[in-house]
Symmetry: C2
Subunit: 469 residues, 2 copies
């Protein structure tokens, strides 16, 4: 399969798809008649380059090649995935998807970003598209709703996993799929609250983000309510709150009228709430928060955080060279924005974190990885010495090389160099002792580990020792 995607329609959503593919090493060919398309996609791509690599503790593959094509057929030619993201007008989608169907390879996935139309509607005039409905920002949020035939959906599923997304197969076609039905329900109720003067847009946003929004970011609706049912479980919860269905807790039995006055009211309240920040600034804030939230969820391997962790495990460790006489590369990654501090550079604590990551990776290399730890033995750091030589800033692609200074008995003595381009930005010298996790006391490592560690120490024995210790 080629790793080439075609993006038809280059707005915020099309640009997001382009960024997601490019940063995962795919070539992307764009077709969009808008003369501003290149600029618009460039801006989305800037945002993506700033945010997506920061999710991972390994570097993403080298970026793919981005090209623009005046002819749809040229963009589609040779693509394994063609994504249509044109405006939400059915006759336009029919026209574009028909042209894509004629130009695309038989086995190509043809996805539509439509938030509302069903595959039967999209394909009413002979196209062969599936719905692949993403969420903005496409380069950070994992969810893609897939609706359509089994064979193309299975192909799409595999590719989406490869580019770090979370395909959710919608088994039955329905207007607006799943997520947008929930969003539409909230949107309608929220418009009523504003129309009736009960709450402003800012108050409604606070009602969400100070409360249940934080629950939904990790567990969604039902799992949260399962907990609320307490020891008695889901049935108890249903018994408690089910009757409210009959109560007048919603105005959704009616639809608010979409008038110019309503648009004015919402827009004015939104200006009062967020107008002090440009859309660009809001985007950066949203992306920084998303990165921080996703990194937070990674630790518990929970929800979207688990998707990031699973994707990272698929990323090749950059260097897989045979261990030789030189220090070995143990980390290759970008500096996340969340690692920087008030001085505008990477905070010292994250230098320590990089050292710890390098040690973890080195432990894997000598056979003392997660399985070894799970079996009850590990290394504890007893001492570290950090030197900060050059500043690092958000987005810097850095690597760490590890030199073994000593590795006999219970002791492991490592020297990590944090490298940025040709310079050494920091060094972390660290001494660890092997321990039994049950007794929390030191002990000798397993023979395989001793042997692998000694081999590293032997290969590095001729290297000059680091100077200032």
């Amino acid at each position: 399969m080629s790793r080439r995607a075609a993006v038809i329609g280059g707005g915020v959503i099309g640009g997001g798809w382009a960024a997601r593919f490019l940063l995962n090493g795919w070539d992307v060919a764009v077709h969009d008649p808008d003369p501003e398309a290149a600029r618009k996609i460039g801006e989305v791509l800037d945002g993506a380059r700033r945010a997506l690599p920061a999710l991972y503790d390994r570097a993403l593959p080298p970026e793919g090649r981005l090209t623009f094509h005046a002819a749809l057929e040229h963009a589609v030619d040779g693509a394994a995935w063609v994504q249509e993201s044109v405006p939400e007008r059915l006759e336009l989608k029919h026209r574009v998807l028909a042209a894509v169907g004629r130009a695309a390879a038989e086995e190509a996935v043809i996805g539509s970003s439509t938030s509302g139309f069903k595959p039967s509607e999209l394909n009413a005039e002979g196209a062969r598209a599936i719905v692949a409905h993403p969420f903005n920002p496409v380069y950070l949020l994992p969810l893609v709703e897939l609706v359509g035939d089994d064979t193309p959906c299975a192909r799409a599923d595999a590719i989406l996993h490869e580019i770090g997304m979370y395909p959710l197969r919608v088994r039955q076609e329905i207007d607006a799929h799943i997520a947008d039905r929930l969003l539409e329900a909230v949107w309608r109720e929220a418009l009523w609250l504003v129309t009736d003067g009960v709450a402003t847009t800012a108050e409604i946003d606070d009602a969400i983000r100070m409360g249940f929004g934080l629950r939904w970011a990790q567990m969604g609706l039902f799992e949260t309510y399962r907990i609320a049912g307490g020891e008695a479980g889901m049935k108890h919860f249903m018994a408690q709150f089910g009757p409210a269905l009959a109560w007048p807790w919603t105005k959704l039995m009616d639809v608010p009228e979409f008038t110019p006055e309503l648009v004015e009211l919402i827009a004015a309240q939104s200006d009062a709430q967020s107008g002090h920040l440009s859309v660009r600034a809001l985007e950066r804030l949203r992306d920084d928060n998303l990165v921080a939230l996703l990194r937070a969820l990674r630790k518990a391997d929970s929800g979207a955080g688990a998707v990031i962790a699973a994707h990272e495990a698929l990323l090749p460790a950059h260097h897989t060279e045979e261990p030789g006489a030189e220090p070995i590369e143990t980390v290759h990654r970008a500096v996340p924005q969340s690692w920087t501090d008030y001085n505008g550079h990477m905070n010292e604590a994250h230098c320590g974190e990089l050292g710890a990551q390098a040690t973890d990776r080195f432990m894997e290399m000598i056979g003392a990885g997660p399985d070894y730890v799970a079996a009850g033995k590990s290394y504890f750091t007893v001492e570290s010495h950090l030197r900060f030589l050059q500043e690092l800033t958000a987005g810097d692609r850095i690597s760490v090389t590890t030199q073994v200074l000593a590795g006999t008995g219970k002791k492991m003595h490592l020297f990590h160099r944090i490298r940025h381009g040709d310079t050494i930005a920091a060094t972390v010298e660290t001494v660890l002792l092997h321990v039994d996790l049950a007794t929390r006391r030191t002990c000798l490592p397993h023979e395989d580990v001793s042997t692998a560690l000694a081999a590293f120490a032997g290969r590095h024995a001729a290297l000059p020792k680091p100077a200032a210790r």
Copy 2:
């Protein structure tokens, strides 16, 4: 004003209120006829003790005193806040709130946790309650919807801020206030999706947490959509998606029938989704995730993260003693669960973080705090030496004391001891240089800073220097 709260009804919500007050130093008197009340509140309190202190980089005040009272009047006596959290039956609330009204002080806040009733309904028989509607878990989520008269709401507002919550004044009484109207809309639509066989509870939860749930945790609905409108803003977004109001994107014009079959269906799907975890385990997962999410949002001072930061600024630095001849306390806090690693103890990187926090606090003490940094000067760490002496685990209350080893010219040389009870768990020796943030080059500090630093160095000159360096 006394710092004493009465909690009437001790389930999950009442217990959450009790925990929120207790951990913020208030005494709490509970009245609940349920013989299991003490056990149930104890369990909620265990969860709160594990999670709430982990939000902050300073220690919370000493915990208040928890008492149980068979007579409602005894519980209410002397309380500045009385919170009713009995089951959602209006005649029961009337009875309880009438008794509370007779027993409570004139100026006491009388809050009801009702998720649906309006103040006019609660007070129909002469009670004087306001709605103070919290969100589960009450000890972690900041939102409290306040509905009712101005005077008690203003009093409630002040107290809620003091205990780290986010009061949202609902200006117009309405069934289910604001947040539960949005939740009810989603709940009804979600029940339709399950009833119609479109999606399971697990699929619906994924549709939320892999996508828009992550947006809502930080920004809510309208600010997110403002961004989606792109450069053209909110009006453009409305123009684009407003027309969908007329489309059949929801079944909410009708209400799903609440049948035993529906309860069975939901409960069975929920079991398949989450039944491998006990409710206790789900609660811990939820709380760990909430702590991690809230800590992530703190960094950008965003949404609920900003509430935590603002509350922390109100917490007294534990020791405010005059600087003397002894090392000065710079940090006093609990170890968050998110700081621990696969070895089951606090990860070394967070020792470095503690050292950095201690340095930041010390910089404030010598007049080189945030204002000084904002004005363009700061200290950069050039070298750190960490020694790990004792393991620390989640929840440990620790402090850091800082000794000045040298402080002349551009140089500041500090020795931080991380203390847990009577033991020293780790030490961080660190050398910093004063820099100009514009040129990124070293320079002499402002005279006030030099003088304050020299004074510390002078007071600490007679202290023995730390041994192993």
